[in-house]
Subunit: 341 residues, 2 copies
């Protein structure tokens, strides 16, 4: 972690971000009520069901903190909370469509929108949220924010295509993995910080530093997600472990183990991954081999190193905002690394 | 038709709009090449496949003509063609998602994107086009254009929900039908004209008149679409006839026949529609009953009356632009009514 800024303890972090989360949720409630006032009641139901699902609100929080770090105050013309919720909407839209694509039944231990309301409603609800999110970005952030946002959403789609292509491949490199993660997750987190910075009136350097911080945070976030898919507590995450393995996806822990393993273990890992039928004990065997080569720890270390670099880049900030806001951004980074769900 | 403006003959209309269509297609080719330059090649393939499909380009043409009518010239700052293609992208995005929702195999006699590339690729490709379209609207038209656009896309989603709900009902009124058509088709056509007007620097009255014209044109367009589903030449339209009936959808020709029929015929129509299994000769019987009550003709007359009202509203325009552009808008209206595909 950055040596200058000590992250605040978890309880303090959670207590301090709680009012911001409440602001964000309140803004979403008002906005959804407003835009669905004359709509089919089913649409409002679907949107509320998918959006108020116990999400961590990481993306809108990053918009608010990035803006504050760059000088935004509630007196400014831009409604930074309205800008922030656009990212939660887009995130929601992505999940609606992803669950249709993956035919997923559960998310955070709750029936998915597509399972609960059908895939047609999920596709349409996702389209609605997507449209609303871009409107809010344009309204509050202007064309430059739209450009950044659109680049990130294009990269997401591109990342999904890459993933479709990679799904057929059992020889992914670390480089392939990071390219996919960048498009799939990290660029959008970078966009939250960059657009927040823009809203706060950042200099080009400040905007760049925050985008890099977001990119590193997003990358680490996805690495931890992939780790939890192997090591998570399914009661806490609300997702079964071993999904990626069962679907034949090569994520970082697996890739690192393949790279480190001796010939016999490597062959075994790959043949277990390629077998399409579920085999009793296969996942446990893979866990053991990855564990044997210390690839889980290495994976976590890589995530820490990436976050450290992003946090260090924020040292260019100084002044009063810096003292009050930087510990949050630092704290969020620690939280991303430490999260269990 | 409006008495003052005589629509130009079809051949002349087609010859005159050909260069505009070429401008629009060229702009899309350039833009798609540009935005997919560093993407997965499959994405570019899917976008080109779905976008260059012999579409009529009605929506972008309306943007261009509305803008020109309100004073836009190529010397203006706004790139009206860039604005125009946003509507073709959104239309494409809608078709990509609709074909997934409807599980359609054919569109214009060509395999659909979802059938050709799979539904995942179709959902993602649609999302990409949706995102790009909103970016272009924001870039060229600003927040006001985004607001109009977003209202139309929200109405589209809402219209789809209404249609889902209506699919369970066999007692739709004309009013229900027009409400669904407004959301599903007409408001977006109205938005093309309204945003075109905005780009041309229209007065509030001009903007309103063009929005009304678009609304009437879009409504008529959908009525003719629904007529063609009964009476079209499937070789020309590239779609089988009788789809709506087979899917149990009540569209205007059917609704008008139900309203006009005697008790026996009405019961027969409704029971044929409700039968879920395909029955030999059922469609022919329905055609005969609708024909018997003159409901196809009445349907067409309603479309003509609606268009006439919209075209008459354009009489507020005067001056040089009016003389050169109004015949086009009038011609497009005639074309929408006369179309066979």
């Amino acid at each position: 972690m950055a040596d200058r800024v000590i992250p605040i303890p978890k309880e303090e972090l959670l207590a301090k971000i709680a009012p911001e989360i409440e602001n964000i949720e309140q803004k979403m409630r008002e906005d959804l009520q407003n835009v669905t006032a004359s709509s089919d009641p089913l649409l409002a139901e679907i949107l509320n069901y998918g959006i108020f699902n116990g999400g961590k609100r990481l993306r809108p929080l990053l918009v608010v903190f990035a803006a504050r770090l760059c000088g935004w105050t509630p007196k400014c013309k831009i409604d930074v909370y309205r800008l922030a919720i656009a990212f939660e909407y887009l995130h929601g839209a992505t999940l609606y469509h992803d669950d249709v694509i993956d035919r997923a039944d559960l998310r955070r231990g709750k029936t998915t929108v597509s399972k609960e309301f059908g895939s047609i409603a999920a596709i349409l609800g996702g389209d609605f949220l997507h449209s609303r999110s871009m409107f809010l970005i344009g309204e509050q952030g202007g064309v430059e924010a739209l450009r950044i946002f659109c680049r990130a959403t294009a990269a997401m789609v591109d990342g999904e295509f890459l993933q479709l292509r990679n799904a057929q491949r059992y020889n992914l490199s670390e480089e392939d993995y990071f390219a996919a993660v960048k498009g799939k997750t990290a660029l959008l987190i970078a966009a939250t910080c960059e657009i927040g910075a823009l809203a706060g009136g950042a200099t080009v350097h400040q905007q760049r530093a925050l985008a890099d911080y977001g990119l590193s945070l997003g990358t680490a976030f996805q690495i931890i997600d992939d780790l939890l898919d192997y090591q998570g507590d399914s009661i806490k995450t609300g997702k079964a472990v071993g999904n990626d393995f069962q679907e034949g996806k090569m994520t970082l822990p697996f890739i690192l183990a393949v790279a480190a393993a001796d010939n016999e273990d490597r062959q075994r890992l790959l043949s277990l991954l390629e077998e399409q039928e579920y085999q009793e004990g296969a996942f446990e065997e893979v866990l053991a081999i990855i564990g044997k080569y210390g690839s889980f720890e290495l994976c976590r270390k890589k995530a820490e190193k990436i976050v450290e670099k992003g946090v260090n880049g924020l040292k260019i900030f100084s002044g009063k905002e810096c003292e009050s806001i930087l510990p949050f951004l630092n704290g969020l980074a620690v939280y991303v690394l430490a999260r269990k769900v």
